[in-house]
């Protein structure tokens, strides 16, 4: 596949950004799952490169990462997997900084960014790399034409937000609630406020953390988001498949259905309930 511009994914209608952990439970399964997610309507794939210490993740994704590592996923295998994907949407690499830093023969992010760009990655989300420490990765991304996506948290101050927006290309990852990743039943009350203060920012805004249903996707978009990011809800389906020893294509089918539901929610034109 060839690398595409991340921001383009947001041009048509509200985007669906779908996360799975690469190698959970195998590279081949991930390939099928990613393709199913795209078939279901995903506009961006956020593909997790599993790290042994996933401090920003909730239990669901922690377990997914453990399955992937146990199955032997490595940065090189990850890049092979990316290369082998037959999808026409951008793929963002979600990982922790140490893996980026260690890759190759010299310390520092350059070698991994180059290899990722070469494999077809469009950008990075690095949850343990706040803007303050992002200089070297930002520079490497610029050099190779990749986007570096920052996460804006409910706690982010105006001053920090400004610094992030200075370096933002692609889209902004709006963390919809406090805490770590994980599917929730309800949208956080914080989401509208979080989006509100980004109203003037000239980049697409995608909301993540806790979205698991079409209805939630609809609410988030109605609050002003340009896209929704979903991860744990898919991973729950994968975990269930592993537990029940379901065939990969059955799991892929379920992922496709959920993606379709989410995409439908995200693109529904119904106004948000409060404004009725």
């Amino acid at each position: 596949m060839s690398r595409s511009d991340l921001a383009d994914a947001f041009t048509d209608d509200s985007a669906l950004i779908s996360y799975v952990a690469a190698g959970d439970p195998s590279a081949d399964a991930t390939r099928e799952y990613v393709e199913a997610l795209v078939e279901g309507g995903s506009d961006v794939i956020e593909l997790g490169l599993p790290f042994s210490e996933p401090v920003a993740e909730g239990t669901t994704i922690q377990n997914a990462i453990k399955r992937a590592l146990d199955a032997g996923m490595t940065p090189d295998a990850y890049l092979d997997l990316v290369r082998s994907l037959d999808v026409d949407v951008p793929v963002v690499c979600m990982t922790y900084y140490n893996l980026i830093y260690q890759y190759g023969t010299e310390s520092g992010p350059e070698e991994f960014v180059e290899a990722a760009a070469d494999a077809g990655i469009s950008g990075f989300v690095v949850p343990d790399l706040p803007v303050d420490e992002s200089g070297p990765l930002y520079e490497a991304c610029r050099e190779h034409g990749l986007d570096l996506v920052f996460i804006v948290a409910p706690t982010t101050t105006e001053e920090r937000l400004d610094r992030m927006l200075d370096r933002t290309t692609g889209f902004v990852y709006v963390q919809g609630r406090l805490g770590t990743t994980g599917a929730r039943d309800e949208m956080s009350d914080d989401t509208p406020a979080a989006l509100d203060r980004l109203r003037d920012a000239d980049v697409p805004k995608a909301v993540g953390f806790g979205i698991s249903s079409g209805e939630q996707a609809r609410e988030v978009v109605a609050s002003g988001a340009d896209g929704v990011i979903v991860g744990s809800a898919y991973v729950d389906l994968i975990a269930e498949g592993v537990e029940n020893d379901d065939p990969t294509d059955a799991v892929a089918e379920r992922l496709r259905d959920l993606a379709a539901e989410l995409k439908a929610g995200a693109t529904a034109s119904v106004p948000e309930p409060e404004r009725k």
Binding site: F51, S52, E53, P54, V55, A56, E57, G58, T59, Q62, N63, K66, L69, T74, P75, Y96, Y97, N98, L99, Y101, Q102, Y103, S107, P127, D128, L129, P130, V131, D132, E133, F150, I151, V152, A153, P154, T155, T156, T157, R160, M164, Q175, L178, G179, T180
Partner: protein, 418 residues
């Protein structure tokens, strides 16, 4: 927030504002003694914690080695280890900051216990995260935390040990960051933790300097401390390095003393090196053998695979069993100011028995590593060994491991055979 190339603040954005708030509080209260914070801390760690701890001359070890050995008795601090210096400092700081709730992770339970203790004393609600496996094998420490009215939240994910407990505590902090302070237990984590924890622990080396002047008439030739995360290490070294920055230190105790050798004794485990295929290191010697990387908020030396996956470390001492190390220590090692050395599990067990038998002091298995290094030390003394904690918590492990490994100098336990 940097120590050479090490340190930094590699944390999720959601926590960054809290980290920045903490930096501000650290600078105002700890460095500048605003509102008399440091005076309050010093008074409480003295009165509640039992500082100063003695510097004991080890008569029998000195005779054995032919040079004077002194033991800095952190084993006599309330709670049985140096851990309280930091826990009390941070909980008190959280109170000054107006925080209403404390969370902390714990592995073997020592840091959790110290934090729970400080919270009971300072009347702060407290929740401790602890892996399920650790909960089950460290019952006495769980009892202690519960007795101090801390909630203990068992973490059922993964292997149910320290790593999962850290993740869950981060998750709690990330969720409740507005009113909650996370008491990190060592000189690790994002800035200001490594500096702040060092400063709270620097009372150790402050006292060593004062006591050396009084008792030895000079500074020691060397200070030896065990290094896991490195909080007792930095506590024992910082006043000699000149990096301690806690307000109100007695005059002359914080100037760099470059002539004093600083030896950080790591857990050599069963052997050095990393088995990348198995994701396992049979040691915890990150200072001696680790490579640079980013973990738990800071750039430091780590036990990791070539890919950058953190490996499972190992030590017979649960308290040293950590794949990272404080960034300042990593820097001091690179600078040549601190010499990293290591002793293996068996040597540590032998030292545990030697100190118990020869000096009437049962050391923590962590501290036994520092004591063990005396067997290799080739200076003329005097030497100060930081006895970071007492070994009551390690009795079962030591008796079991000593029998299994047929450790030299371990007493028989025939008394139990009827």
């Amino acid at each position: 927030g940097k120590f050479g190339d090490y340190g930094g603040q590699y944390v999720p954005e959601v926590l960054m504002p809290a980290v920045e708030e903490l930096v501000d509080a650290y600078e105002r209260y700890v460095l500048d003694n605003e509102d008399g914070f440091v005076d309050d801390f010093r008074s409480r760690i003295r009165e509640f914690g039992g500082r100063p701890t003695p510097l004991s001359h080890a008569d029998n070890l000195s005779e054995r080695y032919g040079f004077d050995v002194y033991l800095k008795r952190e084993d006599l601090l309330h709670g049985g280890a140096h851990k309280l210096n930091n826990a009390l400092g941070q909980v008190l700081l959280a109170k000054y900051m107006g925080k209403e709730r404390i969370v902390a992770e714990t592995g073997a339970g020592q840091h959790g216990t110290a934090t729970a203790m400080a919270c009971a004393y300072l009347d702060m609600p407290c929740e401790i995260y602890m892996g399920r496996t650790d909960v089950n094998r460290q019952r006495p420490n769980v009892f202690r935390m519960r007795l101090h009215d801390a909630e203990v939240n068992p973490v059922d994910v993964g292997s149910g040990t320290l790593k999962e407990a850290i993740n869950e505590t981060m998750r709690d902090w990330a969720t409740n960051v507005e009113d909650t302070h996370y008491v990190i237990g060592s000189v690790v984590g994002p800035h200001p933790f490594p500096a702040m924890v060092r400063d709270f622990q620097s009372v150790i080396s402050e006292e060593v300097r004062e006591q050396s002047r009084e008792r030895l008439g000079e500074l020691p030739e060397a200070v030896i401390a065990c290094a896991g995360g490195g909080s007792n290490t930095m506590g024992a070294f910082s006043a000699f390095v000149g990096s301690a920055a806690l307000a109100g230190a007695p005059e002359g105790t914080q100037d760099a003393a470059p002539d004093v050798d600083l030896l950080a004794v790591e857990a050599g485990g069963s052997s050095l090196g990393v088995d990348a295929d198995e994701g396992y290191a049979p040691n915890s010697a990150s200072l001696s053998t680790g490579t640079e990387g980013v973990l738990h908020g800071a750039r430091t030396k780590l036990l990791q695979t070539g890919d950058g996956q953190i490996v499972e470390s190992h030590s017979v001492s649960a308290g040293l069993d950590y794949a990272g190390v404080g960034p300042e220590l990593a820097h001091l090692v690179d600078e040549g100011r601190v010499e990293p050395v290591n002793v293996d599990d068996d040597a540590a067990l032998e030292a545990f028995h030697r100190l118990s038998r020869e000096e009437g002091i049962i050391p923590a298995l962590e501290s036994s590593h520092a004591v063990a290094y005396l067997e290799q030390y080739d200076g003329d003394g005097p030497v100060v060994v930081n006895l970071s904690g007492r070994g009551d918590k390690d009795l079962d492990t030591v008796v079991e491991e000593s029998t299994a490994r047929d450790i030299d100098g371990a007493p028989t336990m025939e008394v139990f055979e009827e």
